[in-house]
Amino acid sequence: MKIVKLIIYALGGLLVVGVAFFLFSFAYTSIETMSAQSTQARLEELQGREKTLGTTFKEWTEIDLTYTAFRENYLVKVETFNRLKQDLQMLSRKNGLGNARFSFKYKSMLSGILKLSVTVELVGSYENIKRFLFDIENFRIDNNIKIILLKKIDLKKMKAGPMIEGVLTMEAYLAG
């Protein structure tokens, strides 16, 4: 009888151990799956962050390229400074303002950009001065429009005669 009881206890124990082991294996697997999922989620989040940053970086790089194109197209190159001086003097002569006196001042601005202030003292008819201003507003080098900004205009009719004397201040930007 004792042996039978022992067998019953042993079998009961074995059954309990079997069931417990089975349940444990399930719990263990689930925990592992959850851990893998959390790592995957972290990886995806990081990939998302990198993608966003990559896009931002690309956008800013495109802006930088646009700026470079703007600089190339619309600003006067430092090496063409002499050409700019000659062209301005040529424009004054072309518009009958051959006596115009030019003075130039520089100031460095952003990296690689020089602000060039040009002061022009001139005497001439209103029509000629207006034509000169028009040419300045549409200033080109090799058919490419270059930005020259008129900053200050002071014109005064001379006491004698119809001539006007004046001082123009303008700015050009030289890109290195």
Binding site: G18, F22, S25, T29, E50, W60, D64, T66, F70
Partner: protein, 206 residues
């Protein structure tokens, strides 16, 4: 003669066949559970090995991505202020370039009545949208006509005088009469959206 059997034992007699069968069943069930558990752990172990390999790869990738992200962040942060400065500079030039002195002169000329002419003209485009013009008329009537003609420019009249038979005056005209005079302030970096910042610049290059 028939034998009468009595069981006078303390416990019921065990049916060994039945007991054996139930025991075997329990044994098999336990065995099945254990085998299922082992199978589960086995496959999980295999999966775990695969996952571990994938995890290691993922961790390496995470490390790489983290360093790349940090690098990009630093790069963007350092370059952003420079880029903003450049875009703001380009936009300010484009904005100023859109202003045409010739157009303003044309407008003023159109408003000038017959018998009236400009004697001087002073304009500081950088600091103000006001322009000071001196006018001279051959009669007082013409001068008042000129005042009337420039009334849309929120004019201020000063220094009215008659000199050498001409009626002269100095007028301060506002080129943007619709708008109140606003002080020119440099745009604060970071206040505008990046997309807005470069829109103007891109439009010019199109």
């Amino acid at each position: 003669m028939r034998k009468i059997r009595y069981n006078i034992a303390e416990n019921k007699r065990i049916d060994y066949l039945k007991f054996g069968l139930v025991s075997a069943f329990v044994l098999v069930i336990s065995f099945v559970f254990i085998m299922l558990g082992i199978g589960n752990l086995w496959s999980s172990d295999k999966r775990a090995q695969d996952q571990e390999a994938a995890l290691k790869k993922a961790e390496r990738e995470i490390e790489k991505l983290t360093s790349e992200t940090d690098h990009l962040k630093t790069d963007v942060t350092t370059k952003k202020s420079l880029w903003r400065q450049r875009v703001s500079f380009a936009n300010s030039l484009i904005k100023e370039k859109k202003f045409s002195v010739i157009e303003q002169l044309d407008i003023l000329e159109k408003h000038l009545p017959e018998g009236v002419f400009f004697t001087d003209f002073s304009m500081n485009i950088e600091t103000s949208s006001n322009i000071q013009v001196g006018i001279a008329a051959d009669s007082l009537h013409r001068l008042t006509e000129a005042y009337e003609a420039f009334s849309g420019f929120r004019k201020t009249v000063k220094n009215e005088l008659e000199e050498e038979g001409l009626f002269k005056a100095s007028l301060i005209l506002n080129l943007n009469p619709g708008k109140a005079e606003e002080p020119k302030v440099a745009p604060k970096p970071g206040k505008r959206k990046k997309a807005d910042d470069d829109e103007e610049l891109r439009n010019v290059l199109k």
